[in-house]
Subunit: 344 residues, 2 copies
Amino acid sequence: MPGEENHGQEVSRVTMAHGAGGGMSRDLIQSVILKHFGHPILARLEDSALFETNGQRLAFTTDSYVVQPLFFPGGDIGKLAVAGTVNDLLCVGARPLYLSLALIIEEGFSLQDLERILTSASQESVGAGVEVLCGDTKVVERGKGDGLFVNTTGVGVVPSNVELSPQKIQVGDQILVTGPIGDHGITVLSQREGFAFASQLKSDCASLVTLVQSVLNPLFSVHCLRDPTRGGLGTVLAEIAADRQVGIQVEEDQIPVRDEVRGASELLGLDPLYVANEGKMVLFVAPQKAEKVLSILKKDPLGREAARIGQVVEEHPRLAVLRTKIGGSRVIDLPAGELLPRIC
Amino acid sequence: MPGEENHGQEVSRVTMAHGAGGGMSRDLIQSVILKHFGHPILARLEDSALFETNGQRLAFTTDSYVVQPLFFPGGDIGKLAVAGTVNDLLCVGARPLYLSLALIIEEGFSLQDLERILTSASQESVGAGVEVLCGDTKVVERGKGDGLFVNTTGVGVVPSNVELSPQKIQVGDQILVTGPIGDHGITVLSQREGFAFASQLKSDCASLVTLVQSVLNPLFSVHCLRDPTRGGLGTVLAEIAADRQVGIQVEEDQIPVRDEVRGASELLGLDPLYVANEGKMVLFVAPQKAEKVLSILKKDPLGREAARIGQVVEEHPRLAVLRTKIGGSRVIDLPAGELLPRIC
């Protein structure tokens, strides 16, 4: 069979940047993948798809985890695979119910490490109140994988009174983030590169069930939730502005960033705005409820450092703009290419 | 972080046999994985898990596909990833509704090949009447994957009058298979090894929606359906006998096997009983309905070569026994180790 033969034309190939969550990922998905699968729910590219059956709305979401290293301060691929998918269900207002767990193991992988990872996934699922209902295990030859890849796919139920969607975002909405950004990405990168300067840092990897459910009551007028994972907070803001055709304005000095993350980012030439988080949410909230929601978030151990970072504005529609500490402003672009590969 | 360090004790490692669908796969799942995830539905290890929400039974199943080569006569990894998961939903009597599609792509993979595979997955999903509702794309560095791995996770609805389960199998039930066994496994292996002798053969890879739904009416008394993929027909029969504590007797000369598959299996030292299928079902049917069900199956293009191969008996409980063509009999054991790796 022809596999990868090249009959006189140039063969286009997948690059690491196609998987990094920025503009090239978006291009690959839009131009190569979506054209084959036309369902409008898929095309919305939200954190979870919603479908209705028997008068009930269910949320459905999938993620494969290819993080390296498999173990990092604050978590491992098992915890991440549960928390990441649970958080994607939460983004559409669902109560997470069930997960599938599929393992692709490289031949020679340590069974002890597998046990540690499964223990961690199990603990995280108990904490999040989700049940692993089905699974699959495949083994590939040495050199054909990278230790372990994990896929989790989640199902949840959306209560009938909950309606979260970018479509609900309005001019005036306040933008909150549930804590400091960039912890996960910088932690994983520091481990990978052997940097000592970030030794105090750990990943924020966590399931945010309690935190999110504390503000889902429709009285609190939360319009939209987003999970700033691959591509970070900056990508969430740029995407929402473009898709929803609104202006977004955020204040650099209001965005919480830990000193270690800021320092490491400067040394590495990274912008924490684009660094992945695995235990944070971005909320768009009606202005008159923003203070109330913020105070509720701050009562949860996982939201103690929540902050109001900006708002949705009438000016510069389709653009997210950062007002810098020194009084200037710059557009938050969708990053084009490779950010931090294999971060989740 | 310690990763795979060895502090004076021997490190046990995952082998290819752990992924081949035989006894070692079962051991890994039972002794390493299941102990961390205690849900009784998961522990049943059926093709799909069932859960109830809002008075409706939903089926939920996951599979990762790591087949090599990615393209083979009769299909490719895209078609396989749709058909395999659809068939797992069918095994519990569900009407397949939605799939997730998650790709782990190796850096450098040809975009043209990706397009071919997605086209094929898309066509198969249209044919099976399922919608791809959510997806994920990850890229790993060259040498850390193997071209493409695909995970599909499926959701379906089980009609209220359908109840398929090994628990319903009774002594006297007739065992049917929907066509010749071993086509998929021998096709993939022949491609991989470059064998010319199987050049006429193609994989049976197919979604069996129409075929299965034609016999699901409770009037036809189909008690249990199984999808003889990894581990083949032999593993299905040995597992059912052991789990259900019944005797199973099948007649070698009634089991349909194509000449090419038989020939290739002999040369390769394989037993077609244990070779994977990707477009076949094994049915356990009440004796008085077996002829009727067989005649319905034979009317479908994908069931034309269906056959009655044996029955559930009172003798030798927990054992599946093959009566050979020459009048002897032998126990169909669970294969212990490596059968055919990377076949699905």
